[in-house]
Symmetry: D2
Amino acid sequence: MSGAAVRQERASYYERIGHNHLAPLWESLHNLVPKAPQPRSVPAIWHYGEVRPLVMQAGEIISAEEAVRRVLVLENPGLAGASSITSTLYAGLQLILPGEIAPSHRHTQSALRFVIEGNSAWTAVDGERTPMHPGDFIITPSWTWHDHGNAVEAEGGEPVVWLDGLDIPLIRSLDVGFAENYPEAVQPLTKPEGDSFARFGHNMAPVRHRVENPTSPIFCYPYDRTREALDRLYRHGEIDAWDGVKLRYVNPTTGGWPMPTMATFMQLLPAGFRGRTYRSTDATVFCAVEGRGTARIGEAQFPFGPRDIFVVPSWAPVQLAASDDAVLFSFSDRPVQAALNLLREERS
Amino acid sequence: MSGAAVRQERASYYERIGHNHLAPLWESLHNLVPKAPQPRSVPAIWHYGEVRPLVMQAGEIISAEEAVRRVLVLENPGLAGASSITSTLYAGLQLILPGEIAPSHRHTQSALRFVIEGNSAWTAVDGERTPMHPGDFIITPSWTWHDHGNAVEAEGGEPVVWLDGLDIPLIRSLDVGFAENYPEAVQPLTKPEGDSFARFGHNMAPVRHRVENPTSPIFCYPYDRTREALDRLYRHGEIDAWDGVKLRYVNPTTGGWPMPTMATFMQLLPAGFRGRTYRSTDATVFCAVEGRGTARIGEAQFPFGPRDIFVVPSWAPVQLAASDDAVLFSFSDRPVQAALNLLREERS
Amino acid sequence: MSGAAVRQERASYYERIGHNHLAPLWESLHNLVPKAPQPRSVPAIWHYGEVRPLVMQAGEIISAEEAVRRVLVLENPGLAGASSITSTLYAGLQLILPGEIAPSHRHTQSALRFVIEGNSAWTAVDGERTPMHPGDFIITPSWTWHDHGNAVEAEGGEPVVWLDGLDIPLIRSLDVGFAENYPEAVQPLTKPEGDSFARFGHNMAPVRHRVENPTSPIFCYPYDRTREALDRLYRHGEIDAWDGVKLRYVNPTTGGWPMPTMATFMQLLPAGFRGRTYRSTDATVFCAVEGRGTARIGEAQFPFGPRDIFVVPSWAPVQLAASDDAVLFSFSDRPVQAALNLLREERS
Amino acid sequence: MSGAAVRQERASYYERIGHNHLAPLWESLHNLVPKAPQPRSVPAIWHYGEVRPLVMQAGEIISAEEAVRRVLVLENPGLAGASSITSTLYAGLQLILPGEIAPSHRHTQSALRFVIEGNSAWTAVDGERTPMHPGDFIITPSWTWHDHGNAVEAEGGEPVVWLDGLDIPLIRSLDVGFAENYPEAVQPLTKPEGDSFARFGHNMAPVRHRVENPTSPIFCYPYDRTREALDRLYRHGEIDAWDGVKLRYVNPTTGGWPMPTMATFMQLLPAGFRGRTYRSTDATVFCAVEGRGTARIGEAQFPFGPRDIFVVPSWAPVQLAASDDAVLFSFSDRPVQAALNLLREERS
């Protein structure tokens, strides 16, 4: 049979089986089972200087109450319309103005907040409030009630912006999303501020505590402690050729990640650091806290400064450099990949 | 400002921020964080009597060698074009004719084979071959070399069909897919047949074995043993009002699932069984082995007989009934949902 | 000060502080913190041919009912009066005559039974009975009701002897021993024979089973399956230079040991095998099942035949040899040492 | 047969089997398998005011160098001659004078140091030094090089006393003791002071750290942090009716205990607290840090003040009371009992 005849025969066969919801694997095998990851997401950066005015305009466009969450989604250019920054993660910049409340709800999506500017807001999780300061890393674990608020101007309220990181695309791809609104805007406080940290933050734990789920009982990891640890290790000469000084946040009741679906990291690149190239399968979102530097992602160069946010797709080669001491927060779906024995890393 | 003016102002704002790859969360929040799972997949059934002729025609349309894997994908009608039976799982019917080889390769996708008809084929995994018989459950774990073959007709070869289950959509959504072809069609055999089972199948293990990954060292779970266990428990009166007699396959070195991304089950519905309604977040693919019955999924009724395959989307209510003793194999992404603390079940 | 004066001054000081229940560490440091283990237990063997008549005499000396458990303790010559075969383990030979019952009780001590002769007895654990045959390994886990019985002569009852292994000295040294008698001699049977094995013995498990304690839900590991596994691996050429073919018994719900305090093993030494020397910190009790050979323990040679029992103290060098195919059952406190990160092994 | 004849026959049988190292279980069953724990250890207290002069005299009797460790063992009156404070634990008071060194060695025994008086000493573990201050809890894990030293008088050296807690009796009963001296008195320092704490003390961890053993990488838990946590929880109204405010020390890389064989706790009994009665199977050593109170152990009353040490045997009922705010450090073999599923507690 001629090539054309074969093609024709097959096309007609494909149409026939299509009526039975059958499709020929052999026509798509290479796409379905690729030689290496083929992420749709691409490297990208959001310079805070450019996006900040737009974030502030959101404050004029809509109230926190109407918006429920007044957030500008950082949408990966490769995933237009998908509200995703990587294939599994969502990121956004949330603005809360003095006196506003982002009302209480809960959902199976896990969320992290990384504070970018402003000192007057708070987050409440499961009956306890924590203040929010730039550089603080705060979690709102899966299915916990949470709301946010900001002091009124008279009491020092100022616009507060933080980076939201959620596992929305992952939860969607697993079809496990549930959500619920709290009957009131603000949940009642049942514990004093600092209670969770007193119980679990000092390398101790209440004697009768039992670990019942994988999320950290500490929900605010303050920047001053993180910064002190990085600094001390830097002074001890602890420099990794790829990462500089890099720590991960820990759930102190398990030694694992603070949440089961997202890993979080903080690293220090000392002035003049020029990192070697690495890549890993967990696409990662970075947010600069201090200092300036350059991220080389694949073939592209991304100069970054404080509060800039950039994203590295799965398996893209990365090289980090700093002109002055730079501190980078980052997060990825590493715990998912590790739990499923799928994480790969390569250092060159 | 009038409603129209507000809408206009916002639309213009949205367009402006779109240039910076920003999008307003509040316009999509309800879709991104739904009250309950909104799977795109729908309930569906493939009657083996209808699809078998099409599978056999595939044997005329293309050779196993050219196809690499001669498989008809069971495509969920709600996920047309996505080569998926659920949002995270792939299923297909693979045909291998007498004397054919499906050449050796490996990939990060985990795969399961559930034998539907024919007795003359084999699967080789990591240097060991296992024969394949109807009802046998066989795994080819992530990143293990595997190939399949069939005896020539002179030696008893007959067409063999099995159900393939893979985590292709999950691996794609995590961007962690890698694949490699073996330099030859068939990998060399380094272990005698039955070796893995002798080491791990008898509730014993080699004294120096260390668990180094989460997949089961047993790669064939023969039907006769599974059937015997179901039978015995049935005779002991072990009937669950929702499930009948239901067992899960176990990795004997951990007590966990045979593979980290897919759970597998076998259950017996005794003649006359009329199960109560349940639902769970792990969308599930069923394959009938013996007997006849009905699956009520959501509002639809699906009568099934031997070798029929049907799929239950996430959170859809299910009710199983049997007219004569029915045996059902099933698989889902339950280990993923459980590892991430996201699995929900409801029994009514 | 002269040496004598120093000694005198110290002696007087030691006496003085003794009144306050204080003692000078420096006088005993080397004994308390030795360079290497200094077990009080010594190598020893009990030839079944010699002890069997004494065991049978016990049947005349006392009834099972009066004795509660008619057992001759195998007392390590180095631990006279301590009812111990090693520093943490107890071993004994239990005799049960036709028609007798060893009444139901439970205790925190874990127990194993390894059947030596006779086919007519049974053990009941938690409402299920299992028959006992030579070579079977049976557990009665911590705090489970258990009783034993034997058929009357008219129904085939014959004297049955098994090896008991318990963690009595360990439990005593931890001061955690509790015990309770069941109100009746025999506990009621609530499950059919073979039920546990049907649920857990076939590399499957009931779908809703949750692991709640570390002991195996299978309580009889029949010899025929163990023997078959050893045989198959032997035919596959799996010979370790120290151990021959050696398997450990597994709790199929965890992959760990059947009980948290005692490890159990079965090994095959092929005819002519002459093992290399090893030692480990877990003192071990061996019981020959089939065949003949020699155990070199430290400097001593112990020829052994079927049903002989010998003990290897902690850290004593061992070399095993077989003249004809020999099968050895063994047990030790390895899980305790492993859990506490204290196990050491050395192979030369 | 008369009772006397029976007794005689049995005695003669017992003697006969004794030659074969066999003993009748039925004569000792009740002792071997008791209804409840029968510890040989008894409740006891050491008042620091009484023992301190004796400890200081040890400084005149022997040098640290000659003694290797200049320690007065706190010997339980029920375990005279056994160098044990409970059946599994050892406790002692160690004195180190200005300018002295306790030379470097390592052993499989795990050790804890709880500082009682003096501020000028240090402990080095695995190449890192930590200063020691009253109330600090310091570990020297199994098989880690460790040495202690004290500043010379000219640099502020003063006598330093701490409580040593080791698992010596446990290690002896398992026959797993190994020890080794370091070739020099003091091991070389390879890490700056505070390095471990910077890496692991702030609820973060180095990104490439892998947990390879169960001991905490933090080896000093300073009192000021512990005290602050207790205080904060007390002010939050967290009072347990049995324990007051009680925290356990945590290995931050696992959430488990700092060492696999010993649990450590710190608790606050507020002024006027009168605890309810509890008991548990883990015999426990207490050391008062601040305040005064009374421990009722079994039938005995033990008034205690700062630096007093008392011991509670397994399963003895305990009731704690405080006249002014009292802080109690304590340790037990709880991790061993928990790992083996043997721990029992009772609160009344």
